[in-house]
């Protein structure tokens, strides 16, 4: 029997860390696959409105974002406090939207264009005038499928 007993049986052997890199790599690959990079730095503040009848945006690669809201603090000197439109990384005018949509289309596969969605991330307290103008421009550009981005409202019944 003593043949099988180790000489220092009282000491607990250290946990092997040899598999640690593998575990970490597994996590790493998971995050690399699921990740979508933050593409824009927000220059406007958007507090989204709440709603209950939400539908998810399925394919993020097919979504183009239009941000509308008051400029963030560091930009108020140049751009004021009135709600502004942001496309990609810069402030834009309403008339820039058709070009933006065309550029977004050019960046996608032709087969995917019919499934493109424009997501409007608009601040709650924006006046509808600017939103109405954006909608007109989107209609002109034939980007008809839109999504009013909003947060989930917890319903009290």
């Amino acid at each position: 029997m003593s043949k099988f007993r180790k000489s220092n049986a009282k000491e607990v052997p250290a946990v092997s860390t040899a598999s640690l890199p593998d575990i970490v790599f597994m996590l790493l690959f998971f995050f690399m696959v699921t990740t979508t990079m933050r593409e824009v730095t927000l220059k406007v503040r958007t507090t989204l409105p709440t709603a209950t009848e939400l539908s998810k945006l399925e394919k993020k690669s097919l979504v183009s974002y239009v941000y509308v809201g008051p400029p963030q603090k560091q930009y108020t000197k140049m751009f004021g406090t009135e709600p502004r439109i942001q496309l990609n990384d810069q402030f834009a005018k309403v008339s820039d939207i058709p070009d933006f949509i065309l550029a977004e289309r050019a960046a996608r596969d032709e087969a995917e264009i019919p499934f493109m969605v424009t997501s409007l991330k608009v601040d709650e307290f924006t006046k509808m005038q600017i939103v109405g103008e954006i909608k007109q421009e989107l209609r002109k550009a034939a980007a008809l499928h839109i999504n009013y981005s909003s947060r989930k409202k917890i319903e009290v019944k």
Partner: protein, 192 residues
């Protein structure tokens, strides 16, 4: 041949951790969601005005939002909370009332002859309306249609709309259409 020394792999975990942390920080996990709507097509510029027949007054459910975020439905001031019930009543027309929209008997596959409402919800907002209020109203209108579809689905198929097959869904969509039209905004009530 001389034996090549083994590459030390002790730091592998550290490197992997560093990458992992980078991706953790750069990741946005939140799913974007929102109210989905389809804008109407832009009419061709040289279109003749008014070639569509006028819509009867009883078939239109008019929703107005003014610059002070007040809501007027069918000529009376209303709270947003009551809009859903009112819209459902309009779309359903349970008593075949004279003031509520007409129905048209349509044959729909899977369902047979169904009384489909001819009602149209017309939403008009002011330039000064707040976006949050506008979304709240849109949400109530979409919710009204969704609830009607859900009720109809459980009545006919014994399950919620979301659980129906695609054929059943399109049949339900035909039976309970979602016609929300948005008029071009104009300034309602007073000057800014």
């Amino acid at each position: 041949m001389r034996k090549t020394p083994e590459i030390p792999s002790a730091s592998m975990a550290d490197i992997a951790f560093m990458l992992l942390i980078f991706f953790l920080v750069a990741t946005t996990m939140d799913v974007d969601s929102g109210l989905e709507r389809v804008l109407p097509q832009m009419p061709p510029e040289n279109q003749e005005q008014d070639d569509t027949p006028p819509i009867k007054e009883r078939n239109v459910f008019s929703v107005l939002l003014d610059q002070y975020n007040r809501l007027m439905v069918e000529g009376e001031i209303m709270r947003v909370e009551d809009l859903r019930e009112k819209a459902k009543e309009f779309m359903r027309n349970p008593t075949n009332s004279e003031n509520l929209p007409e129905t048209k008997t349509t044959e729909i596959p899977l369902l047979g002859n169904i009384e489909v409402t001819k009602g149209i919800i017309s939403l008009r907002n002011d330039h000064g309306t707040q976006y949050g209020t506008y979304i709240a109203v849109q949400n109530e209108l979409v919710a009204a249609v969704n609830e009607l579809r859900d009720e109809f689905a459980s009545e006919r198929f014994g399950k919620t709309y979301a659980n129906c097959t695609n054929e059943q869904k399109s049949a339900i969509r035909e039976a309970i259409p979602s016609r929300i039209s948005e008029a071009e905004p104009k300034t309602i009530g007073g000057k800014k």
